[in-house]
Symmetry: C2
């Protein structure tokens, strides 16, 4: 980094939350951290590329939020507590208006979760953002994709489908007049990662994943890694009233909920003996959780609607059934 790009420092250096476990942040060859004893470290990396993950005229504050939220959500799905972020920002030029809005939103979300920006790199090139975010976990505890068991109850947090409806609005400006179009667009960019839920599920849930590619696609990762199947009752899927009015029919909304990506809600499985504890354990999180189905033996994957099998052709669904 040299020349005008050192300007970028102005927006990022010295503004961060100061964590006690950070020995050295920006200004040397590396950042130095000293995690507490008896913790494991969870590490995740996500890249957002302009044109692939967001449109060129996207609000920079929303882009920052989405980039950081995507990473925090991966930590939440492991039950980890977010701690440190490294930001690699590639920009075609130094646009101070863009940087100010981007950095402001970045630190708003980072501060909320107690994450310190410890370093990174700024380079000249086509606009993209790569974040590596780390978190800590009590040693020997974590939520993974591989421990779901036949009979587990299947849950999701929040409401599903809004992100896909928001993406419709972003990609097709003619939808901007439909009911709640702007609300849904904002939901696409500004999800809230479920960190508290993930932490509360450590020791209660058998498996978890965050919904980034769509419920069916992400649930498949649990099913494949755990060698189990599942049934989902689509009538139980949590839908927002805004989504129902935007798409105009309940079955379309349910299909949105099954395939909507970048939701950053958690999908998790809970053994029968812990089912009664879930509501009280999550009471402090302020997030609704909904039981939408059950884990079944390997090879079973069915959508039900109040007892009847539903045969919807959805992306990723047939692939798994094979």
């Amino acid at each position: 980094m040299s020349g005008e790009f050192t300007l970028i420092d102005k927006y990022f250096v010295g503004r961060q939350t100061n964590r006690k476990d950070v020995l050295l942040a920006a200004g040397d060859d590396c950042a130095l951290v000293k995690p507490g004893d008896n913790v494991a470290i969870a590490i995740t990396t996500d890249t957002l590329v302009c044109g692939t993950h967001f449109v060129a005229d996207a609000n920079p504050a929303w882009v920052a939020h989405k980039a950081l939220a995507a990473n925090i959500s991966d930590l939440a799905a492991m039950g980890a507590t977010p701690t440190w972020a490294s930001l690699a920002l590639t920009l075609p030029s130094v646009d101070e208006t863009w940087l100010e809005a981007f950095s402001e939103a970045f630190f708003q979300l980072a501060d909320y979760f107690g994450i310190q920006l410890i370093g990174g790199d700024t380079t000249k090139g086509p606009l993209s953002i790569t974040l590596t975010v780390q978190g800590t976990l009590p040693e020997g505890k974590s939520l993974t994709r591989s421990q779901a068991k036949n009979g587990d109850w299947l849950y999701v947090t929040g409401q599903l489908g809004d992100s896909k409806a928001g993406l419709d609005v972003i990609l097709d400006k003619s939808l901007a007049d439909k009911p709640y179009a702007q609300v849904l667009e904002q939901r696409h960019y500004r999800a809230t990662p479920r960190v508290l839920v993930g932490q509360a599920l450590l020791g209660l849930a058998n498996s978890a994943i965050d919904i980034s590619d769509g419920l069916i696609a992400d649930l498949q990762h649990i099913l494949t890694r755990s060698q189990v199947g599942a049934t989902i009752d689509v009538s139980l899927l949590p839908l927002s009233s805004e989504l129902l009015q935007f798409v105009g029919s309940r079955s379309t909304a349910q299909q949105y909920a099954l395939t909507s990506g970048e939701e950053y809600e958690l999908c998790f499985t809970v053994p029968e003996e812990n089912k009664g504890m879930i509501e009280s354990a999550l009471a402090h999180c302020g997030v609704k959780v909904t039981c939408i189905g059950q884990i079944r033996p390997y090879g079973v994957f069915e959508l039900h609607n109040q007892g009847q099998v539903v045969d919807w052709q959805l992306d990723g669904f047939d692939h798994f059934k094979a």
Copy 2:
């Protein structure tokens, strides 16, 4: 990541060194690692963008080497031992020939240093590579930029200037017939990070930095952070015979050595009382180190040539003198 991009997994997943401190690598929401007790963790991030940091037709093996070496070099400059890497790879399309050469060279260097690739992200977009590489340090020990003291002796590893000459060849094909053009081009891309030297300097050197922007520019970071000055005797700069023949004059070669970036050699300062130990402490590293000057009081920054002050106009030099 979806569709054809899952193909990329084929080149990266399951090929890595298996470290005992990695609990979970690719395949879940996060990687999980468990560092040993009494260590601090050093973290560095570097991005290489096609068109900014390498040319579009650059050998993919050399690009992989340069991307990883740049990060390892930052760890070396802290005295850290490299451990884990996260790779964010953005590609315009899935080019299997490119990926095979890139991944082969990546793992060759990673394996050499015992680094495990623990995760990352692959996305579609303009070609760029962001790596976050981590390493460990004994708690309470590190080499930083901020502890140089007046009177310290100033050292560099290896030879300087070859990288800049190699870049000349890359950017101007008409130079390809000059002596050693291909050797120098390869040196630009394929530096060897000085990890063993960095480790050996813990407790012996007062400060260190790696040479990524050029000796003068990088030394300035030490001087500024440590509030000291320096003198360099340009006649002591270590120059390769290839560089001398390529540029054709000793003073041009010396100027190359002062300004050549992406050398990934170390620049470090050693207090008088440790000077006698340097050679024996570094004997096992197989790397030549050269004393090129001395740390002086703040505000002094001079180039000498066998006792005479040299007044070369070099990038970054006047800036500091102000």
